[in-house]
């Protein structure tokens, strides 16, 4: 403690931007020792110190929510087997799909119409139809604003992922999380503003381009968090360097950089680089704490299914997401389904939709229900937008009698939290679920809605690139009006 104090004294004397470094260290130690303290206080609490690319910014109008948890089901969930029941599929089972123009499939040739292997029940006061494979999530039916008429543009996984992630099927554009952190900054600079937690089995289709900042500065790209005490790449020094050694290095670095800054007093760039080391140092302490789910109580861990090997992996991802949002992270992108084995580890149910969706629904049902319950219990539900979606729906026709091919024509998504109107199903697909029919909701509409809930007008959130004020929604998109209608 003595060395720390003398170090702090020195840094305070050195003045200016340096004092934060020592203070952060001290506070981190205290914060980390007091393990079960409320996370909103202590060293890792909201740190708005700026100005950096992440300084919190004004919204266009009063936001409904301040953070987002995006739950992305990679591989493509079959809407007709989960949230969009189609009795006509049973009636016309075994017959070709006709009257809808050319039936475009991704693989081989089209099969006949196939009824869902699952039964649906009505849930909640709203009587929302949800398939039997989501028994726990269904208990939250009255919290969900279900979109049954969403549609995409591509029946290829990767392009469809990029469309959902960036608003275009092409590569090189900023992701939704980048736009949001660009537009809003963050409430807590001790943690990255935009965090990605992907499936332990592997990254989603299309990999890191899904959280790329595209043509924006790299500052706005997503930072991948893993469920370990070293959640970010290069967060901590390797074993060969002790923390003491690192501290000594940082001290000397700060002193030498400070001497140098005296030669360039008007350079904000150099000053910013000095403070980036302070922030990095704080992040070393705060990031592991932020995702340390062992600090949660047993009931909470159970709520997310951490006591069960099926639900544990995704439960952990959801619980990490809640902890991050609680600490002021702006946008948490959670992926379920990873490219270890495309057919079994994602929702890509070409082979057998019953087997595939039974497995994956079981993995996510309790964690998602737990997340919604927990957000409510902690008073975070109203300030957090939860979006559940995927890259496309699946075909009403069968693939080899048991599977379903990709279908960008219609898909189901839902939103919760953010003081939206729950217990409603918005729009509909046609009688078979082949195409969005009533009130089709494009991906641009979805993005416009997300921005709207965060207090941003999607036509005014622009970034000058290529001589044009670029938008997440290009020249399209309208917020879905019923989402906020009470």
């Amino acid at each position: 403690m003595r060395s720390l104090r003398s170090r702090r004294d020195f840094l305070f004397q050195a003045g200016g931007g340096l004092s934060g470094l020592a203070l952060a260290w001290l506070l981190d130690q205290q914060g980390l020792l007091a393990a079960d303290r409320a996370p909103a206080s202590g060293a890792c609490a909201a740190n708005r110190s700026g100005p950096t690319p992440f300084t919190a910014k004004q919204t266009h109008f009063t936001p409904r929510a301040t953070s987002v948890i995006s739950l992305f089901m990679s591989g493509g969930v079959s809407h007709v087997d989960t949230f969009d029941p189609k009795p006509q599929l049973a009636r016309y089972a075994g017959q070709p799909l006709t009257g809808k123009g050319e039936v475009i499939v991704r693989q081989g040739n089209p099969g006949p119409l196939m009824p869902s292997p699952f039964s649906f029940r009505k849930y909640g006061q709203s009587g929302m139809d949800i398939a039997e494979i989501f028994p726990q999530l269904a208990q939250h039916a009255d919290d969900l604003a279900l979109l049954r008429s969403a549609y995409g543009q591509s029946n290829d996984h990767v392009q469809a992922h990029y469309l959902l992630a960036t608003g275009t099927v092409r590569m090189g554009f900023p992701s939704v999380g980048s736009w949001i952190t660009y537009g809003l900054g963050t409430e807590n600079q001790n943690l990255p503003a935009f965090v990605v937690i992907y499936d332990a089995r592997g990254g989603p289709f299309g990999g890191p381009a899904n959280w790329s900042a595209g043509f924006m500065p790299a500052a706005y790209q997503g930072t991948v968090f893993r469920a370990s005490d070293n959640p970010i790449i290069d967060l901590k020094p390797p074993a060969s360097v002790t923390l003491e050694e690192q501290r000594a290095r940082l001290d000397l670095l700060a002193k030498l950089n400070e001497l140098d800054l005296q030669k360039y007093p008007s350079s904000s760039e150099l000053a910013a680089r000095i403070s980036s080391y302070e922030l990095a140092y704080r992040m070393q302490g705060c990031a592991p704490e932020a995702v340390d789910v062992s600090r949660e109580t047993e009931p909470t861990r159970k709520l997310y299914g951490l006591d069960n090997s099926t639900t544990e992996p995704f439960g952990r991802q959801c619980l990490m997401a809640r902890r991050l949002v609680e600490r002021g992270v702006r946008f948490v992108q959670v992926y379920h389904g990873g490219l270890g084995n495309q057919n079994t580890d994602t929702w890509d149910a070409h082979d057998d939709v019953k087997k595939n969706h039974t497995t994956h629904a079981a993995e996510v049902d309790r964690p998602i229900a737990g997340l919604l319950t927990d957000l409510k219990a902690r008073g975070l539900f109203d300030s957090t937008l939860v979006v559940w979606h995927c890259e496309f729906g699946r075909m009403p026709i069968s693939q080899r009698g048991v599977g379903r091919d990709h279908n960008p024509g219609a898909m189901s998504m839902w939103m919760a939290g953010a003081r939206i109107k729950g217990g409603q199903a918005i729009g509909s697909s046609d009688e078979f679920g082949y195409k969005a029919e009533q009130q089709p909701v494009s991906v641009h509409d979805l993005h416009a809605t997300i921005l709207h809930l965060l207090g941003m007008d999607h036509t005014r959130l622009t970034y000058l690139y290529n001589g044009r004020q670029m938008r997440l929604t290009d020249v399209y998109g309208d917020p879905v009006p019923q989402i906020t209608r009470s």
């Binding site: 075994g94 017959q95 070709p96 009257g99 040739n109 099969g111 006949p112 290829d156 990767v158 392009q159 092409r170 590569m171 090189g172 592997g202 289709f205 990999g207 890191p208 381009a209 595209g214 500065p217 790299a218 500052a219 930072t223 970010i232 790449i233 290069d234 020094p237 360097v241 000594a248 290095r249 670095l253 002193k255 030498l256 950089n257 140098d260 800054l261 360039y264 008007s266 760039e269 150099l270 000095i274 980036s276 080391y277 922030l279 990095a280 992040m283 026709i397 069968s398 080899r400 009698g401 048991v402 509909s428 009688e431 029919e437 009533q438 009130q439 290529n466 001589g467 044009r468 399209y476």
Partner: protein
């Protein structure tokens, strides 16, 4: 079924409150000629009128509207809700109309609704029809004044201003700059000290550090020409091309993989990267450099180099899977080429005119599709880099072996057939009952649904070689083994592949060899329109490019008239040829004409744009700050006369980039100090756009890594060849989906310059990405510079950086084994090209009393001063 969806539609409309009723009186007032025709004229008739009937829909008469187009009737009199016209303009159905993303006003929509509900009376005004509605593809003439915009005027040879201060007369660049500074009342900084200058020159021209010996030699040199000599020396260094080639590779959006789902490796992409490095080292005239990249296969003198150069047009991200089923992909690639030629070479956002005329600049959609026609004949080929004789011999050998393989493979198939036939029914039993029934049912008796099911399963079910072997008789098994062995031996006889360059030439893309995923679906995509043709033209007669069309709203299925090649009208002076066919008649010569137009001295932009890019990399900001946008939405030039003067001077000096470096670096402006505080200057020009002091510049991502390797002494200076794959952390590889990363051990083999590190579109190299690597999929204008904590974490904790810090310490200790003062001095000299100050020395010595030398060298690699050019 139709009735069902129809009823659903009605009931939903009621819910949405859109259904009508009791509004007859309002509807009665609607008049077609007064209320509806103006709407049709300004929107619908552009695509469904006289000149064009998209979707075979003609809205000029009531009869034709009732008849409808491909998607059925457009109009159901009396029922707006059932009329597609209304449903599409009201956004109740997709695609919403009009197709350009604009919307009719609520009043217009409501007028259409009322009119249809009133029975859609049709009383066209005199003149009627759509004679007054210009087709959507009609060319809007560019107003004469548009050409007066500075960037569309050919650069004029300006006279060099005469500065008041005679000291500034010496150098034309300074004359222009000082004149502007005098006008602004700015006081320029003095010349930087020689140590700063020598480091600046090395970092700028080679991206590497001067060694302490090189710095010392420069300081000792008393020659008045030492600066010029240093520049000549550095321009002669092979490292120069590695640094400056990289700037142009950003423009070319160069990568070693395809991107998208499969992210296939591009095994020969590196030849193009090496071509660019060599071009810079050889000071290939920039006009020749461009001509080779656009039309290297069409020049009078085609060389291996020029064929390799055509990879420029293949550097875009590419799906590379099921290309033929998805004809729209090719239009996106062409768009990427137009964007890259436009922004990269011409500094104009021509690709904005893909769907409509450019909103800000006088570039029409016609201009876009003319340019598309100039490129449209392109096909991807692997140009052999061996002699014709060798490549013919190679092909002959391969064909011969394939012919010998054929009977063996045939016999193998025959041998397996009975077993396969026995096994398949067993396989079908794994499917549900309805599938089995469908397969069992004789083909003629299957219901349509059963036919679909049976086709799906029969086509995709197969048995494995192992399963067959288990059933085989010993003699059949033995024969199978023999055949396998024979096939293996023949495969081994195949000669190693000859060297090829990834490039392009003209051909017919519809007949390109099938790529991955292209095989299965006949009658789909481009194969649907495939008629007689060949991939590459072999004669007789001249090659004809496949037709390309004006595409309405950029939709590849909405064809307007066929297009001729050409160039943006506002940039074109005189009447340059749009096709310069070569003697062999194998290509159209359109790209050659494009290349000659781009590099003509009459082209107002090409020279300005490259001169401005070179300027930007030296001074940290272009004369036009938006390097790729000289249009109205770009920044205005800070020194327009100087830009013109430089462009003309550059062309007169044979488009020599090295000449330009010498010119710019010999100016006083380049040699000014960056360390210069002048409150008055700062207040007048805080951004330093008048260059009153030298702008400090954060090193580019690759150069951060390169100077770390230079400081540690571990840099492997081997040039060229296939890329290297430095070790990535397993967690990073985990996020990778497909494609390759040939993880190599951390060591000298991968300690090459960063320009040789594999560029994977699906997985940007993390150390580069964190330091603002531009997106590898789009042509880069100017790199972003952001300062974020993850950069600090990388330089603090990354294994690579720590290992280099250790090597740096080892290097210093070896040179000065026991003298700590000397170690500090040496470490400073190596990393910062200067001795430590007294204060720094004291701090370092104090530090070393408790800490190891590596702690110090690691700190030096993290210093602001280390990662900035000053």
């Amino acid at each position: 079924m139709r009735v069902i969806s129809w009823l659903a539609a009605i009931s939903a409309l009621v819910v949405l409150g859109l259904a009508t009723g009791g509004e007859i009186s309002a509807a009665e007032r609607v008049s077609f000629s007064k209320d509806i025709q103006p709407i049709f004229e300004s929107t619908c008739w552009k695509c469904h009128g006289e000149a064009l009937q998209l979707s075979q829909l003609d809205l000029r008469t009531r009869e034709s509207a009732l008849k409808g187009g491909q998607r059925g009737p457009a109009l159901v009199p009396g029922s707006a809700d059932q009329s597609r016209i209304y449903r599409l303009v009201a956004g109740l159905e997709k695609p919403s109309m009009p197709m350009d993303g604009t919307k009719l006003t609520p009043e217009q929509i409501s007028a259409i609704k009322d009119w249809i509900n009133a029975g859609a009376p049709w009383d066209p005004s005199a003149g009627g029809a759509s004679s007054s509605a210009p087709a959507v593809f009609a060319e809007t003439p560019i107003p004469e004044q548009a050409r007066r915009y500075w960037a569309f005027q050919k650069p004029a040879r300006r006279s060099v201003p005469i500065a008041r201060d005679p000291r500034n007369k010496a150098h034309p660049v300074d004359a222009f700059l000082v004149q502007a500074m005098e006008q602004q009342g700015l006081e320029p900084a003095p010349e930087a000290d020689p140590r700063t200058l020598v480091r600046r020159a090395y970092l700028d021209l080679t991206g590497l550090l001067p060694t302490p010996a090189e710095t010392a030699a420069y300081l000792k040199d008393q020659s008045p020409n030492r600066w010029d000599e240093l520049i000549d020396h550095l321009l002669g260094s092979p490292h120069y091309g590695e640094r400056w080639g990289r700037h142009l590779l950003d423009v070319a959006r160069y990568a070693d993989s395809n991107g998208f789902e499969h992210d296939f490796d591009r095994p020969d992409a590196w030849r193009y990267r090496d071509y660019v490095i060599r071009a810079f080292n050889q000071d290939k005239p920039f006009n020749v450099f461009l001509e080779e990249q656009i039309a290297g296969d069409e020049l009078d003198r085609v060389t291996k180099e020029s064929l390799i150069a055509t990879a420029f047009l293949r550097c875009h991200a590419k799906v590379g899977f099921r290309e033929k089923d998805n004809p729209q992909y090719r239009y996106d690639y062409l768009d990427d080429m137009i964007a890259t030629v436009g922004r990269g070479i011409l500094g104009l956002t021509i690709q904005c005119a893909r769907c409509h005329d450019h909103k800000f600049d006088p570039i029409t959609q016609q201009d876009y599709y003319r340019l598309q026609a100039s490129l449209f004949g392109y096909v991807e080929v692997e140009h052999p880099l061996t002699s014709t004789k060798e490549s013919e011999a190679y092909n002959k050998k391969i064909v011969n072996i394939e012919q010998r393989l054929k009977p063996l493979k045939g016999e193998l198939k025959q041998l397996e057939r009975p077993y396969r036939d026995r096994l398949l029914p067993e396989k079908y039993k794994e499917f549900p009952e309805n599938v089995q029934i469908a397969i069992r049912t004789p083909e003629a008796q299957r219901t349509p649904g059963q036919a679909l099911l049976a086709a799906q399963v029969i086509r995709t079910t197969d048995v494995s070689s192992k399963e067959i072997e288990r059933l085989m008789t010993p003699s059949d098994f033995a024969r199978k083994r023999q055949l396998h062995e024979a096939i293996r031996r023949l495969e081994q006889e195949k000669p190693p592949p000859i060297s090829v360059a990834m490039g392009i030439t003209d051909g017919d893309y519809r007949f390109a060899p099938d790529g991955p995923g292209d095989e299965p679906e006949p009658g789909k995509g481009v194969k649907r329109e495939a008629i007689e043709g060949t991939f590459l033209h072999q004669g007789p007669g001249r090659y004809q490019a496949p037709p390309s069309y004006f595409l309405i709203r950029g939709d590849y299925q909405s064809r307007g008239p066929q297009m001729r090649p050409g160039f943006p009208a506002v940039l074109t002076y005189g009447n340059p040829p749009v096709e310069i066919p070569g003697a062999d008649g194998h290509t159209s010569g359109r790209r050659r004409a494009l290349a000659e137009w781009l590099t003509s001295t009459d082209n107002p932009l090409t020279a300005r744009v490259i001169v401005n890019r070179i300027w930007n990399h030296h001074f940290g900001r272009g004369i036009v700050a938006t390097l790729d946008n000289f249009g109205k939405m770009g920044e205005k030039p800070t020194h327009p006369e100087l830009l013109d003067w430089l462009a003309v001077d550059f062309m007169r000096h044979g488009w020599s980039i090295k000449y330009l470096h010498r010119l710019l670096m010999s100016s006083a402006a380049y040699q000014r100090a960056s360390r210069y505080e002048n409150a008055a200057d700062l207040a007048k020009d805080p951004e330093d756009i008048y260059l009153w002091r030298f702008r400090i510049q954060r090193l580019d991502a690759e150069i951060v890594r390169d100077v770390i390797l230079a400081a540690s002494g571990a840099l492997n200076t081997e040039m060229f060849g296939p890329p290297v794959f430095p070790k990535l952390q397993p967690e990073v590889l985990h996020a990778m989906t497909k494609g390759i990363w040939n993880q190599e051990q951390d060591g000298p083999k991968v300690w090459r310059r960063s320009v040789y590190v594999y560029r994977k579109r699906g997985l940007p190299f993390p150390l580069f990405e964190v330091f603002d690597l531009p997106d590898q999929n789009l042509t880069c204008s100017r790199r972003n510079v952001s300062t974020v904590p993850t950069q600090a974490l990388t330089l603090l904790n990354d294994d690579f950086v720590l290992r280099q810090a250790q090597l740096f310490a080892d290097r210093v200790r070896e040179a000065a084994p026991s003298d700590a003062t000397e170690q500090v001095r040496l470490a400073y000299g190596i990393s910062l090209s200067r001795p430590p100050t007294a204060e720094e020395s004291r701090l370092a010595m104090e530090f070393l009393r408790k800490q190891k030398l590596v702690d110090l060298t690691h700190v030096l690699l993290n210093l602001n001063e280390f990662v900035y050019m000053r």
